[in-house]
Symmetry: C2
Subunit: 213 residues, 2 copies
């Protein structure tokens, strides 16, 4: 982590997850009346509790009481925190609809993250360019990762193929995996695996709705 | 929530997020030696701490000390918890690559969730069938939601169109929104909005990797 985090200590996961929301919100507020913005205003407009916002922003920046935060500074800080990983390049395996969407996703660049290339076995996509990035055959995965020193792999293949892809990534030196396949992956303890599960997102939404009603 | 949750109290969000992982893991372990399974074994094989697993499982089922949990019962319980929302049907707006992938996503059915239909403005997809579900023109959104009593909307359109889609959903009676567009949405306080941000997933992965190294 950078100086920012050393100063403020580790940032709680729930805060990290709200940062992109703040960023999108702050980017929209371009008027001069938003040059300085208080956590109270952010809380009101984003339907969050004032305490939550104050605590979240205290993790990343030092606002002055009654004066609020400089909007530009907040944007800069959040971008820094979210993009501060040394591991800012990734490879993606599985260029189906989801993989295609990920390769075109605009959000990554905001945080200094970049998908370098896609990999697949399907001859209909191998050799094509998506969003300026080449799709290679999976057999080139090892040499590509070695050559580029990439440490993050994104898995967007069907569940039955996910373990094989994971093994290939690990063998090539990948240390962090973002897995979109609804499958459990076995990986060495020194490799971080994060599961993205759309179904659980929907389930969590339903649970929040019940709490409200 | 169902009886299960009334017995065990509300389930922490971090636990909810790990449940699909357990489910995928347990579904893979079909051998007779896994008929009963302890939290220690699950922890070892999933690279989690034993305390985490014990606490997570205590939220959803009552295992007996030294005997462990019945695998089938765990699977049933997790499925119940994740699919226990009364709001189990959703509509999706934006049938690009991501929307297409979501309409084909296998994971939803495991939890009793179902995307009923897709909506778009593009004449190339309107009228088509994806995974057995029809794609309608967005102008049919209001009547479809009213007719089917759907309470969840999934937004998979580009960021600049997201607010308009959100407004249309809210006007039609949607009470929960899963937003995949990298945009801040304004919605009434009684509507729950959950943001899915691929970039923050990647950022969180990078942060976990740094903690490890």
């Amino acid at each position: 982590m950078d100086e920012n985090q050393r100063t403020h200590g580790p940032i709680p996961r729930t805060t990290m997850e709200r940062l992109p929301g703040y960023l999108n919100f702050l980017r929209m507020k371009t008027g001069p009346e938003y040059e300085r913005i208080s956590s109270t205003v952010i809380a009101q407009e984003m339907n969050l509790s004032a305490i939550t916002v104050r605590k979240d922003l205290a993790c990343i920046a030092s606002g002055r009481p009654r004066v609020g935060h400089r909007r530009e500074e907040l944007i800069e800080r959040i971008t820094e925190v979210l993009g501060s990983g040394e591991c800012s390049t990734a490879v993606l395996v599985g260029v189906g609809n989801l993989g295609h969407a990920l390769m075109c996703y605009k959000g990554f660049e905001h945080y200094g993250m970049q998908i370098l290339a896609g990999f697949d076995v399907d001859s209909r996509v191998v050799g094509s360019e998506i969003n300026g990035k080449t799709v290679y055959h999976i057999n080139n995965l090892y040499s590509f990762i070695q050559k580029n020193g990439t440490s993050i792999g994104i898995i967007a293949v069907p569940a039955p193929c996910a373990q094989e892809v994971c093994d290939r990534m690990v063998a090539a030196g990948i240390r962090g995996i973002l897995n979109f396949a609804p499958a459990h992956l076995r990986a060495p303890a020194n490799v971080v695996v994060r599961h993205e599960d759309f179904a659980v997102s929907l389930a969590l939404l339903a649970v929040s709705m019940e709490k409200q009603s």
